[in-house]
Each structure stands twice: as structure tokens, then as C-alpha cells.
């Protein structure tokens, strides 16, 4: 006997309680504390802050544990929280030239003012699983440099002094930076808007697109001019005060790609730029972003748009993993009304086909199906 | 009362629910052109800005919506400061930059085509005009037809702009571009979206 399915409310409540149980797991294992996640899963926290567009380590940690370690789900939690926060104002643009640098590498110069600083990198670690780590062994304190901080000019500034790289950004003097969290996207978009979208874009998606440019789908001859990771000051202009108010520091990763450019009718042969900037420490994301940024500048630089990575609508419309996961996963919602409509159409067309191809057999078949 | 005090007083007593009530009245009025959606006096702006027009401004305007004020309102520092305090809306440099135009003396107002009409790609980027009128029964009768109206509707708004019917015909011709009008009477709102066709009675 068919009975219309009822009790959705109870089913949902039960599912939530089972989810909470599975999230907690074996009760004899101590529950994770947020500070443990902040300290020991720091790069996961950074990714959630970066793609969640909210610089708050503890909230990101809470989101990660609430999401059972599913980072895209955690990013979603953070986004849905940040959207309810009041907007007090816009900080001044950060100046990464004055960054308190922990890591800085350049692939274009062997040595340069400020030097190369490896910092806390996985590069050159041998990827051997570490049984000592599993045993929870002590970790020695790292060495610390005692020297005065040496000025660390950006590689792009060094090239710019020689006039060999395009100027940084072409925004008119009175251009007010847009805000993708407050205004609907509009295509084609200005580069500031595009960079915002890329910065919160999905790491995996941008990585794959950046990779595709290296394999010939819109090759753009990149060199890592510089990657730097460290703390930068955040300041806010308050109309009533004659000076900018310091709000604190944020940790960011910046990647400046230097790309070959043969010149066009409008511009002399010179190097061009691709730019990546993300919250926290994520070189992979910053580099992928810089590759995509450069690829997306194709039209601006008079290059043919021939590959996915150069296609602004394609890249920006699909880079947001909160949107993407929602829409892909919505396919599991009931669609039976539409499916019924398709079922009816396919049945009719199928019957017509049978009648046409095999008039005698079609009758038998219909009988069998009844 | 000095300007500073005037500018702080007279806002919504209950911002969340008052704004919702005013918006719903405007939405219903926009969806049913010619219908009067009554509203109590939620706002007390400085004169000559009316309570209803003030409430509509509070419900819809904020720092994202540049405002244009007609000379009657422009002349009052108290009104500018009241709007600034309660909505945070900046004043538009020209009528064509305005998202909303607040008009206390519609009979003297500039031509409709001086405001932003939107573009063919983005017809929504047009100015919405909030016209302060005493009522919609004592002026010249207008016969309305179009979306939102089952057959036809009649209103007779007072103090309407000069050559309004002719100007409105031009507005219709620009569709999908064009301006929309919110009429703020002493006790409610009525709307004329750009889709409403107007005939004078007997024409």
C-alpha cells in the first residue's frame, strides 16, 4: 500500500543527530580543541580563511571540525557566517613591500636585495612518512636570525626600474575598487574584481587551469618573479582622524609571476605580470592564481583567446567552490516532477519508434510491459 | 529644535518591521499600479518632506543609492541632514546619477527624461522617482492599463508634473528603459511602473 512519505522533519532531526555522533567519533578519544587545529592544521585553516574570505583562525578551525575536515564544507560555513557581519569600512590597500617576511624566493635572480629566504616550506623535504611524528615526538626549536630586518624590495620593482616590465595596474586614479561580496558580477570585469574572485576561487580548480596553461593551452611563459609569505599591517582610514588607524597584521602569500610578452601595437616588448594573493600560507594557490590572472588578461594584451584559462566567463563563473558544490549536489534533491515529464516524453517517443521500426513486435512488447 | 536634533529624530521607531511594512506597501503598489496601499505615518521628517515620502526613503535608500533632491528639498539643510543620518545615502551629482529622486513639488519638477533611464542592457539602472502628492483623487483623472491591472484602473493624482501624460508616453516608448514612479500621498503609496499605459479620461 502506498502511503505518501511523511515525517520529513523527524528524518532531518535524526540525520542531524547521527551526523553529530559521527563527527564526534569514538568518545574515548579526546575531542579536538580549536587551538589544536589552529596550531597543527594551520594550512587547512589558511585555506578555509582564504576561500571563505574571512580572516579568523578560530572560526575557520571551528568550521573545519564542524565539517568533519571537509574543507569545502568548512569554507561554506565561514562564508554563510561572514555574509551576516556588518560592514564597518574598507581597509587601506596592504603594502607587501613592507611585509615582515618569513619566506621569500625568486626564480628570476640568483641573489637580490634582502636575499632568498626558504622559510617554513615543504620544498626539499623528502616525502617520507615520519614514524616519529606518529609517536608524538618532541620537536626542536627552530633557529632564529638575529639580524636587523633588511629592506626587501619586490622583484617587480627591480624590473620596473629598468622599464622592462609593464606598470603595475592600469586603474584610473579615481577608480574605487569593487567588492564581489556586495555587487553582482558583471562581464567583462575589471581586473580588481577578477582578482577578488580568483583569490576566493577553488584551489584545485585554479591549480588545474594554471597547469593547463603550462601544457600549451594558452601558454604564457611564466617565471616566478617572487613569492613572499609574511605579515603585513592592516590600516583603516577614519574620516574623523588625521592618520590611518592600525588594525593589526594579517599573514598573506603573494606571488608575482613575470611573463614574457613580445609586445603589441599598443605596448613595447616587455615583461607582463600575473598576480596572486591569498590569506595565510598557500603558495600553490597564489601561484595558480597568478597563472590564471595572466591568462585572463589575454584580451587586454591583444592575445587570442584560445583556451579555457583565458576565458573570463568560464573561469570566474566556475571558480567558486561554494557555488559549484551547491549546484552539483543539488542534483540529489528530488526532481521527480521534471523526471515525470521526461519519462512521459521518452515513453511516447519510444513507442512511436517501435511502431515505426517494428509494427508487429511493438504490440507484443507493450503487452509485456503492462 | 536645531538641525542636529531634527536630523536624529523622526526615523523608524522599529526599523526592521517598519521598513518591511513600508516595502510591502510599495511592492504591492508597484505590482498593482493605481492601487493605493495605505500606510500609517512611520517617519517624521523635517518639513516640507512628507511622512510617507520620508518613510519610503528610509525603507529603500542607503549608502549604495545616490539621491537627488528637488529644489524644494535641496533648500533645506535639515532634510539633507535627516536623510544623511537615517539612510547614509550620498547626494547624486546630477539627476542622471541618482538611484532615487525625492520630489516634494512634482508640479515644478524637471522632465522625466532628465533622470537615468537605464540602458538597453541594464534597464534596471534607472532612477526611481518618489513624488510627494497630497492624494490620488483630486487631480486630473488618469486611466491606467498594463501589467498588474486586471482590466483598467483610474487614479487622479494631485500636483502632477506639467505635461505628465505626454511625458509618460515618451517614457513608455523607451521601454525597457525608463523611470518608475512612487506616488507618496498623505496616507499611502501608489505606483506607476514604466509598463503602465496612461490615457486621459475621455481621450
Amino acid at each position: 500500500m502506498y502511503v505518501a512519505v511523511k515525517g520529513g522533519e523527524a528524518a532531518i532531526a535524526n540525520a542531524h543527530s547521527l551526523l553529530a555522533d559521527r563527527r564526534r567519533g569514538d568518545r574515548s578519544v579526546p575531542a579536538l580543541r580549536l587551538d589544536q587545529i589552529v596550531e597543527q592544521l594551520a594550512l587547512g585553516v589558511d585555506r578555509v580563511m582564504s576561500e571563505g574570505s574571512l580572516y579568523d583562525r578560530e572560526l575557520a578551525a571551528l568550521a573545519i571540525v564542524q565539517a568533519r575536515g571537509d574543507l569545502i564544507e568548512a569554507i561554506f560555513l565561514v562564508r554563510a557566517y561572514r555574509t551576516t557581519l556588518p560592514r564597518f569600512g574598507y581597509s587601506k590597500a596592504i603594502d607587501t613591500a613592507t611585509m615582515l617576511v618569513e619566506r621569500r624566493v625568486s626564480a628570476t635572480y640568483k641573489d637580490l636585495p634582502g636575499g632568498q629566504l626558504l622559510g617554513p616550506t615543504f620544498d626539499y623535504t623528502h616525502r617520507l612518512l615520519d614514524p616519529e611524528l606518529a609517536a608524538g615526538g618532541d620537536v626542536a626549536e627552530p633557529l632564529q636570525r638575529e639580524t636587523e630586518t633588511q629592506a626587501m624590495p619586490r622583484v617587480s620593482a627591480i624590473l620596473a626600474r629598468e622599464g622592462l616590465i609593464e606598470p603595475d595596474g592600469e586603474m584610473p586614479q579615481d577608480h574605487v575598487p569593487g567588492d564581489i561580496t556586495r555587487e553582482p558580477l558583471e562581464f567583462p570585469m575589471a581586473r580588481d574584481i577578477r582578482l577578488q574572485a580568483l583569490s576566493r576561487g577553488d584551489e584545485g580548480f585554479l591549480l588545474a587551469l594554471g597547469y593547463s596553461t603550462q601544457r600549451g593551452y594558452a601558454r604564457n611563459h611564466p617565471f616566478v618573479g617572487e613569492i613572499r609569505i609574511g605579515e603585513v599591517e592592516l590600516e583603516l582610514d577614519v574620516p574623523e582622524l588625521p592618520f590611518a588607524v592600525p588594525l593589526g597584521t594579517v599573514r598573506v602569500t603573494e606571488c608575482q609571476m613575470v611573463n614574457q610578452f613580445k609586445g603589441s601595437a599598443k605596448a613595447p616588448p616587455q615583461f607582463t605580470r600575473g598576480y596572486g594573493l591569498v590569506f595565510g600560507q598557500s603558495e600553490r594557490k597564489a601561484m595558480a592564481m597568478a597563472l590564471c590572472d595572466r591568462a585572463l588578461r589575454a584580451s587586454e594584451l591583444g592575445e587570442d583567446v584560445v583556451a579555457a584559462a583565458q576565458d573570463e566567463e568560464f573561469v570566474i563563473s566556475h571558480s567558486d567552490n561554494v557555488q559549484a558544490t551547491g549546484f552539483v549536489e543539488h542534483l540529489k534533491l528530488p526532481h521527480y516532477v521534471d523526471f515525470q515529464a521526461e519519462l512521459d516524453l521518452v515513453r511516447r517517443m519510444h513507442a512511436e519508434y517501435d511502431a515505426r521500426e517494428n509494427p508487429v513486435k511493438a504490440d507484443d512488447k507493450r503487452e509485456a510491459a503492462e | 529644535m536645531d538641525i542636529a536634533a531634527q536630523s536624529i529624530e523622526g526615523g523608524f521607531a522599529d526599523p526592521v518591521f517598519d521598513a518591511q511594512t513600508v516595502f510591502r506597501a510599495v511592492m504591492d503598489a508597484m505590482a498593482r499600479p493605481g492601487s493605493l496601499q495605505s500606510l500609517p505615518a512611520f517617519a517624521r521628517p523635517p518639513v516640507p518632506f512628507s511622512a510617507t515620502a520620508g518613510a519610503v526613503a528610509l525603507a529603500l535608500c542607503d549608502n549604495d543609492t545616490p539621491l537627488w533632491l528637488d529644489p524644494a528639498l535641496q533648500a533645506s539643510a535639515a532634510i539633507k541632514s535627516w536623510l544623511g543620518f537615517h539612510t547614509g545615502a550620498p547626494l547624486a551629482n546630477t539627476p542622471a546619477d541618482a538611484h532615487f529622486a525625492l520630489i516634494a513639488a512634482p508640479a515644478e519638477m524637471m522632465a522625466l527624461d532628465g533622470f537615468s533611464q537605464g540602458t538597453q542592457d541594464y534597464p534596471d539602472r534607472s532612477t526611481t522617482l518618489i513624488l510627494q502628492v497630497s492624494d490620488i483623487a483630486s487631480g486630473a483623472p488618469l486611466l491606467l492599463e498594463g501589467p498588474g491591472i486586471e482590466t483598467s484602473a483610474t487614479i487622479a493624482p494631485a500636483q502632477m508634473p506639467r505635461h505628465f501624460v505626454e511625458q509618460w508616453k515618451q517614457n513608455i516608448k523607451r521601454f525597457p528603459r525608463g523611470v518608475d514612479i512612487i506616488l507618496a500621498t498623505s496616507d499611502g503609496v501608489a505606483c506607476l511602473p514604466r509598463t503602465t499605459r496612461i490615457k486621459t479620461m475621455g481621450a
Binding site: 500500500m1 502506498y2 511523511k6 520529513g8 528524518a11 532531518i12 578560530e58 572560526l59 571551528l62 554563510a80 551576516t84 556588518p86 560592514r87 553582482p184 558580477l185 558583471e186 567583462p188 566567463e313 563563473s317 561554494v322 557555488q323 551547491g326 549546484f327 549536489e329 543539488h330 534533491l333 521527480y336 516532477v337 521534471d338 515525470q340 515529464a341 521526461e342 512521459d344 516524453l345 517517443m349 512511436e352 | 521598513a19 518591511q20 516595502f23 510591502r24 510599495v26 511592492m27 504591492d28 508597484m30 505590482a31 498593482r32 529603500l60 535608500c61 542607503d62 549604495d64 534597464p123 534596471d124 534607472s126 501589467p147 498588474g148 486586471e150 525597457p176 511602473p193 514604466r194 509598463t195
Partner: protein, 297 residues
């Protein structure tokens, strides 16, 4: 900053902050003034996933007040899990009265159906829309489709429908069937079955459409012309069912097929659960209604 345990007190009425509501409200007014035109709006992240009704939820949250009575349906049913979830959300954040009766509701949020019971003046039907652009599957680029709407250049859509006829002998679009609104904009009615298209035409209710992920709001005011696209030799027609609802015997309603066993047994029942229950309360019985089956046991 420390994350405090949150409860309803820390969220605004209807979840959205007032600035967001104003922005959405302005978009709704523009939508009503330009029927069928998709107004871009700065859609917010909502506490449910994109694609699960965030557009409809934002529209409802922006119009709803304490006196409203809300009905939420998904696939025509009040008891599907996503409908239950959205209804619970509004009960929680807006504390409004909810109902399953179409006639008692002031706001009806829907996914994929228009209720069978005729809507009345004063009601608002809020559609959840996944892809608001009717031309999207013919032209993926927003820059291009925007131009087509601006120039009223809808030839591509007619070509697509005509290709259907050439290949299949009929228009093979069964849901999200494109309509033309007030003779100007071609509009996606959301993935409702084309069965529901005629209900949009000159409906006394206000119809609002919210697409959260795609950041568009559009509207059809009451008593507005909504015409399904067709050809003179292939006029638009809606689905018909060979049998009435097995539970309430309703005819000329949209039916869901329910599989009864794994030997091909199935039955057809109203997709609109409220309509079906109401009819059964009134004494209508279909051939598989429990009461009809009783004597057979």
C-alpha cells in the same frame, strides 16, 4: 575573536541584515517594473547550499513580515525534505506562521511546481530558480545573452524549438519551457513542468523569481501576459495523463508516478499533496485510496 555559541538572538529577523534586504527589495521593485527582465543582485551566501533555494529564500526573507503565513513546497509537496528544511528555517529565523494550505498562505515558496489550487490577489508565489537565463543552454556566455535580451533577438530560441520538431516531430522541452512575458522578454519559468505554464498567464498573484547562485531576481506582476513559445503548426500543449490520481481521483492535475513493486507496478498520484489531501477530505476517492482498498483485504 572568539566564536560564541550562537542562537537566534544574534541573527536579524529573517536572517538577512537590513542592508541586504534593502538591496534585494530594490531589485524586486525593478523586476516588477520590467516584467521578465532578470535584475542582477548581490546575492549573499545563505546557510543552505547554492542550488537548494538560496535565491527563493533571499526573496522570501526580504518580503516576509510577522503577519505573513508561509507555505513551502518542493515538487508540489509540503513534506519533501528540502521544503521541510526551508519551512523550518523561516519558522526559526522569522517566527512566522506556516501552513500547507495553498489558500491560507500569503507567501508560497516553491521549487518546480505551481499549486493546483488557483492563486488569488494578494498572494505572492516565490520560485526557486537554478538557471534563470532561458538562453543559457543555447549560448553559455552572459555577455552574449544579455545582448540578445537587449536587442530582443530571440531567433536562437525559435531555431532550437524548431530543430526539436524536425528531429522528434514535436517540441521536446517538457519543463523549464520558455515563455514570453508581456510581449517583450523571453523568460525561464524555472524548472516547472510545462503543465504549469498556463497558470502563470494573467495570474492574480504576484510571481517573484530568485536565483541565488546566478544572482538574478525577476518578476511577473499580476494580470500579466505570459505566453509559452510555439509555432502555428505546432501549438504549445501541456502534458495530459491517461488516468486520474489514484488517491483522490483528480483529473487535469499533474501526477507523480510512484513505483509500487519491482514487477512494473506503479500508480499515479497528485504531485500537489495539499490539493490531494483536500480532495480526500472532501470525500473524493481514487481507485487505490486506502478506504477503497479496505473491503478487498
Amino acid at each position: 575573536m572568539t566564536a560564541q555559541p550562537t542562537d537566534i538572538a544574534t541573527y536579524n529577523f529573517a536572517y538577512l541584515d537590513e542592508q541586504t534586504k534593502r538591496m534585494i527589495r530594490r531589485a524586486i521593485l525593478k523586476g516588477i517594473a520590467i516584467p521578465g527582465y532578470q535584475v542582477p543582485f548581490a546575492s549573499r551566501e545563505m546557510p543552505m547550499p547554492y542550488g537548494w533555494g538560496t535565491g527563493g529564500v533571499q526573496v522570501t526573507a526580504s518580503i516576509i513580515g510577522p503577519d505573513d503565513v508561509l507555505k513551502v513546497i518542493d515538487q508540489g509537496a509540503d513534506d519533501t525534505t528540502n521544503a521541510v528544511s526551508i519551512r523550518a528555517f523561516f519558522k526559526k529565523v522569522a517566527n512566522v506562521a506556516v501552513t500547507t494550505y495553498t489558500a491560507s498562505a500569503t507567501i508560497i515558496q516553491t521549487r518546480h511546481r505551481i499549486p493546483e489550487h488557483p492563486l488569488t490577489a494578494g498572494q505572492v508565489l516565490v520560485y526557486q530558480v537554478p538557471i534563470p537565463e532561458p538562453l543559457r543552454f543555447l549560448e553559455p556566455r552572459e555577455t552574449e545573452t544579455r545582448k540578445m535580451h537587449a536587442l530582443e533577438e530571440y531567433g536562437l530560441m525559435h531555431v532550437k524549438l524548431y530543430e526539436d520538431i524536425a528531429r522528434h516531430g514535436r517540441i521536446a522541452t517538457t519543463y523549464a519551457y520558455p515563455v514570453k512575458v508581456e510581449g517583450r522578454y523571453v523568460m525561464d519559468p524555472s524548472p516547472t513542468p510545462k503543465f504549469d505554464n498556463p497558470k502563470m498567464h494573467r495570474s492574480p498573484a504576484l510571481q517573484l523569481f530568485g536565483a541565488g547562485r546566478e544572482k538574478r531576481i525577476y518578476a511577473v506582476p499580476p494580470f500579466t501576459e505570459v505566453v509559452s513559445l510555439d509555432f502555428e503548426d505546432h501549438p504549445f500543449e501541456v502534458q495530459t495523463f491517461d488516468q486520474p490520481c489514484a488517491l483522490c481521483a483528480a483529473e487535469n492535475v499533474y501526477l507523480d508516478e510512484v513505483i509500487l513493486d519491482d514487477h512494473g507496478g506503479h500508480m499515479f498520484v497528485c504531485s500537489d499533496t495539499d490539493h490531494c489531501e483536500k480532495r480526500r477530505e472532501e470525500g473524493h476517492r481514487g481507485h487505490l485510496a486506502p478506504e477503497m482498498m479496505e473491503p478487498a483485504r
